[in-house]
């Protein structure tokens, strides 16, 4: 168990000149002991690189990795005492399930009776007790991945367990189960878990703290709630949520903060307003979609003259009677959940003008 501190940058190229040469831009990050973290971002954002740097499979080109007070930058995964689970199941074909689970312990010279007890416990957690003596090679992909997960969890004294999109090959209904299982295991074993994924649902349900990454940068670290309510960067607003945040030029709205370039508001928080209300703008309905649990409206701001058209998404309660395409209405844009972004796409401050609520 350890508190992991990263203070580094990484480039796969020998002589990085500009930002785009870096897989990871200079960053400082702390993972507290016993926390459940998720690294969330689109493909190629550097999340797997960060994971491999933590585990020691990749050595950072600049900076250091520290476990507690120990500088482990040049140490091997074995010396760091890290467990890692990969995207695709890795199993040892010639071994049984039990031998697979025991392998990391056996390599470290753990006593046979201890191995047996530990393997038994992990198999029970993963509901594989009945398959311990079957050959691992003949199992289905999800069972194989459960073995991989088990091998990651079998050592009690690891500094951290890292997961690299481990549920990619798993059927959707099993995904839920396994994610719940992981969460439960986290509570039972109190291990530090770091989980890489591009799936926001996976990240938000698994982790206490989510690190949102894009283009080699960690743009926000926060609880799932904070990521939703106060995205610190336009990317977070756009990436998290379904659909993502609406963005408009701040200049469209009278009374916007001076430094604000962009206004962001989630489709969930858009409200209808009285015509002419303060902080509201007129819009036309383009499309209404029944998404089952809610109505999804696509709207276009009207009365903007020659300016480029701005479309917005809005979620309406399933019980509400939705307007029809072509209807004109007013939208309240300046509310407690409105976020303002500066020219560099970072969050300015929240407008809390309760009095303009419609």
């Amino acid at each position: 168990m350890a508190r992991i501190v990263l203070d580094l940058a990484h480039s796969y190229k020998p002589n990085p000149q500009q930002d785009s040469d870096y897989a990871l831009l200079p960053l400082k990050m702390t993972f507290d002991d016993g926390g459940a973290y998720a690294l969330l971002g689109p493909s190629g954002c550097g999340k797997t690189t960060m994971l491999n740097i933590i585990s020691g499979l990749v050595q950072p080109s600049h900076g250091t990795v520290t476990f507690d007070a120990d500088d482990v930058t040049r140490k091997t995964p074995q010396a760091r005492n890290i467990a890692q689970v990969f995207q695709f199941p890795v199993i040892y074909d010639t071994m049984t399930v039990a031998e697979n689970l025991a392998f990391p312990l056996k390599n470290r010279g753990v006593a046979a009776d201890k191995i047996k007890a530990r393997v038994g416990r992990i198999a029970e957690m993963l509901e594989m007790s009945g398959q311990l003596n079957t050959r691992a090679a003949g199992l289905a992909a999800d069972a194989k991945q459960k073995i991989s997960l088990g091998r990651g969890l079998v050592r009690e004294d690891v500094s951290a367990v890292l997961f690299d999109e481990p549920l990619t090959v798993i059927d959707p209904h099993l995904k839920w189960q396994l994610r719940r299982k992981l969460k439960q295991i986290h509570h039972e074993l109190k291990l530090t878990l770091i989980y890489v994924t591009h799936d926001q649902v996976e990240a938000l349900t698994f982790a206490d703290q989510v690190v949102v990454m894009t283009r080699g940068k960690a743009v926000q670290v926060g609880s799932p709630d904070a990521l939703f309510e106060r995205p610190a960067h336009r990317f977070v607003g756009h990436f998290i949520g379904s659909p993502g945040m609406n963005f408009l030029p701040a200049a469209l709205l009278p009374g916007a903060p001076a430094a604000a370039q962009t206004l962001g508001i989630r489709p969930e928080y858009l409200r209808l307003a009285e015509p002419g209300a303060a902080g509201a703008l007129p819009a036309t309905v383009l499309q209404t979609q029944d998404v089952g649990t809610y109505w999804l409206l696509t709207l276009q701001l009207s009365g903007l003259g020659a300016q480029a058209p701005h479309t917005l998404r809005m979620r309406l309660d399933a019980q509400a009677r939705p307007p029809r395409p072509g209807d004109a209405l007013w939208l309240q844009l300046n509310g407690p959940h409105t976020c303002w972004y500066a020219a560099d796409e970072t969050l300015l401050a929240a407008a809390a003008e309760q009095e303009v609520m419609a």
Partner: protein, 298 residues
Amino acid sequence: MKPVNQKAWWLVLPVFLCVAFSAILPLMTVVNYSVQDIISPERRVFVGTEWFASVMRDPDLHEALLRQIGFSLAVLLVEIPLGILLALSMPATGWKSSAVLVVVALSLLIPWNVVGTIWQIYGRADIGLLGAALQKLGIDYSYTGSARDAWLTVLVMDVWHWTPLVALLGYAGLRSIPDAYYQAARIDGASKFAVFRYIQLPKMRGVLMIAVLLRFMDSFMIYTEPFVLTGGGPGNATTFLSQYLTQKAVGQFDLGPAAAFSLIYFLIILLLCFILYTWMQRVGTTDDLSSKTEAGHA
């Protein structure tokens, strides 16, 4: 009820014709010879299984067969581990890997009789680099004089010629292992030997099976190299089954016994390949686990 359409037989006809002309008819002519005593083109006598019986009792054949089995086993015992070792030590990427691949594959491009000739000159005690060097070192090496030397030279020649095939197959097998396996092994703290034993060897099983079968069949049919190098001598030291067959069929023109022997030869190879194949299929797939894991623990 499934519809029955006898016309479908016509669709099988091309395959049937192909197999008939390429395999069955040639084989049947051999069967034809094997049951007759051909005294002259006009005079032939049906003798039943007499040739088979006499060939089976031939002590020369027994010796050649034992020699052959010994040779093929030696070939496999040397070439398979050596090929795996070579494959493991070949660089995986970059220009080095391409260069090494070309160098390793070179010997495979040389025709059999040229290989024989190369080694015949190379091993000569008077002008050959190897032969003369060994003589200088005080080792009395002569592939024409000593049965042991001749046998060893043929073996070394085959190893030199064909180990690269095993190495290339093994190399292909190694390259197909995803990186994640090596990374997982590092995370699991596996030693180099454990990586070989539990990842590389099992993943190479398929290609190694092909390598064993190919090398077994080829070495079991070896003819050209000993023919060029020693002509089967000294004595009968390097007379393997093909050599023996040629002596019978071409040298003595005993077509009947030669045909009978050909069939027996064919059946031996078929049988041994079948045994080898089934055995290798079973290794690593059945629950023959207890014995193997004991070895793993040791």
